[in-house]
Amino acid sequence: MIWAYLYNIVFYASCGVTVLATILMISRHNAVHALLYLIISSLSLAIIFYLLGAAFAAALEVIVYAGAVMILFVFVVMMLNQGQRSAAHEAAWLPARGWILPSVLAAILLSLLLIGMYSDQPLQPYGVHGVAVKDVGIALFGPYVLVVELSSFLLLSGLIGAFHIARKMPSHMSSNELEEVDHG
Amino acid sequence: MQLLGIIISLLGGGVLALLVGRQSASASRWLSLVSLAVASVFYASLWFDTTDPQATSLWLLHMDWPWIARFGIHVLLATDGLSLVLIGLTLVLGYVALLSAWHEINHRCGLFYLNFLFTLAGVVGVFSALDLFLFFVFWEVMLVPMFLIIAIWGHEGRRYAATKFFIYTQASSLLMLAAMVGLVLLNQQQTGVWSFSWFTLTQTDTSGSLGMWLMLGFYVAFLVKLPGLPVHNWLPDAHTQAPTPGSILLAGILLKTGAYGLLRFVWPLFPDAASTFAPIAMGLGVLSVLYAAKLAFAQNDLKRLIAYTSISHMGFVSLGIFAWNHLSLQGTVMQMVGHGLSSAGLFAIAGLLQQRLHTRDLDKMGGLWGQMPKLAALSMLFAVAALGLPGLANFIGEFMVLLGVFQVAPWAASLAALGMILAPVYALIIMQKGFFGASLGTQTVGTTEVLDLNTRELLMLAVLVVGLVLLGFWPNLIFTITAAPVDYLMHLGKGG
């Protein structure tokens, strides 16, 4: 019984943390702060995954997202030395007025989603059934082996693309010779 | 086989002309002349086969190779008297256009002769294809090179004119394609067999509103090509901007494909729809006769004026076709041939004048009879032929069309006869502004000495003059050949 009560608190706490972190993440001027908030939100998301019985997914979320992707972001932020210098820019680029339209749109979208969920559409399933990692593994290498291959291809192409695009330019070249270099 | 021979020799000649054209322009000219000659030899043998007395059937079937068997599409080439006469006209005007292009076309000759001969081949194909699909293929083969001729070798506004010509014809032939497919489907439903051949399709029952819509699809395509009234305004632009050989081809032959289409496809395939639609079409014919004649009177660009006269004459043709009796049909055939010769002559004269005076504007010409008596006399003859003087081919055509139409619709014939009054108004304007009147001296004439016709040009025009006078006094040369085919079409057209 305690476990149910505890489960309840942890679930809703992590939801609140996620939402709050995301809101803060969007509104930060400083890129690094935003990144940190993103890490928090993904960690709390991992907790929710766990609570929903998807332990494997939670682990993945922590390892891949919080670990690899965010670190990549931090690298890029550092390379673009986006620290304090550009914080002022950010302030300029973010007038208060700018928030109105997107938030209105987001609010409409959210309300629609909620209506969609709570309207008596037949497609609404109930009940929660946890899924063990074993079943995921069996399915993964059973009927869905193709998805795995596809994911590997995707990663490979992302790797090559990133490598090619971000290749270190010879420093003496100005920007307009970039085209010749690419064609060369 | 001769018919295929004609088409192949023309196409081959075109390709060779292109290859040779790179080295020397005159070689490509002579080569295209040779290919035309070869085609004429084939045509001659074709003529004997068709007109020998003991020819069994009306048709002279040349080939019937299955092409896309699944849909019953055959390469079906056949000629009867009607297409024989029109192919003959095509070859004669081919010679005339070639002669007129001798000195006028001097850049990229190889490519020009390729297009020139391909258009001729396309037209010969159109006149002899009896498989609707093949007919459509030749219809496109004829159109594209003509577009190129106008677009590349035309005068100042050629781009606009060429695109306009292309869009008009292409859009309408799309309609025809849709109607064609519709017809074939209708036939398939009724008889269960896939066939594009003209012979089987004439048997399908096309009464009712579907038949009317299919007929309209064909009718609009041929009306654009004819050019009938509402869709005629590509012709004046195309003619003013086309080079002289292009104009001769366009006026002499391409307009006839529209008329031929009406004769061969609209009535025989859709007898009921065509007969219910006939009064409207005749009204359009009369309207285009009068409206085009009025417009011709107001132009001061010579080639534009002649273009409008062509529309007026072709108005008679559409009038004659939709009266659909023996008299008016024979008259239509003669009008087609007569107009082909006389408008080719007028355009050749316009070309010659442009070469000499570097202008097409009638207001800048004047008093040329003194400097160029031979050219003036010949243009007098062609202008007089255009206004339908008896003793020349146009009169026979016009007279019989009006006579035939009078049996069916007296009021339409009387109104169209008013065209006979407007005809001299615009024909004599050409003579008055161009050749009579006070000689405007040298300022209109660029070069000081304006040379009269040389032998090549005289030969070119003489061919047309002989044709006109010959058909003016002995039209039975054509009528005896086209009598049987016209009867056969009429029999079909009457829902036989």
């Binding site: 969007i26 989603l113 399933p125 | -």
Partner: protein, 102 residues
């Protein structure tokens, strides 16, 4: 566990997705847009997981796996492009990329 958690998870996914969308639309800095897109991807992942656990089938997590790989690849290429943008315009303002105007 009864289904209210699934519903709330779904609600959370919706909220996160909208927030991400707002982030993308509002921020002019390409980096922030990239981050917001990551959030939207996470929201989608959450929805998959929630649905998977609702039905007790592994597909949810498999799809989540696909979402993650997609997100990773996308970030790799996106950040590469951001670097290029920065070198080219020495600023990360996305409005500078408007040469493809109609």
């Amino acid at each position: 566990m009864d289904s209210q958690y699934i519903d709330h998870a779904m609600v959370l996914a919706g909220i996160l997705f909208c927030l991400g969308l707002v982030g993308v639309m509002v921020r002019r800095n390409l980096l922030f847009m990239m981050i917001s897109i990551e959030v939207m991807l996470n929201a989608a992942g959450l929805a998959f997981i929630a649905a998977g656990s609702a039905w007790g089938q592994p597909e949810g997590q498999i799809m989540f796996l696909a979402v993650i790989t997609l997100g990773a690849a996308e970030v790799a290429v996106g950040l590469g492009l951001t670097l290029l943008l920065f070198r080219h315009h020495n600023s990360v303002n996305v409005d500078q990329l408007n040469q493809l105007r109609g």
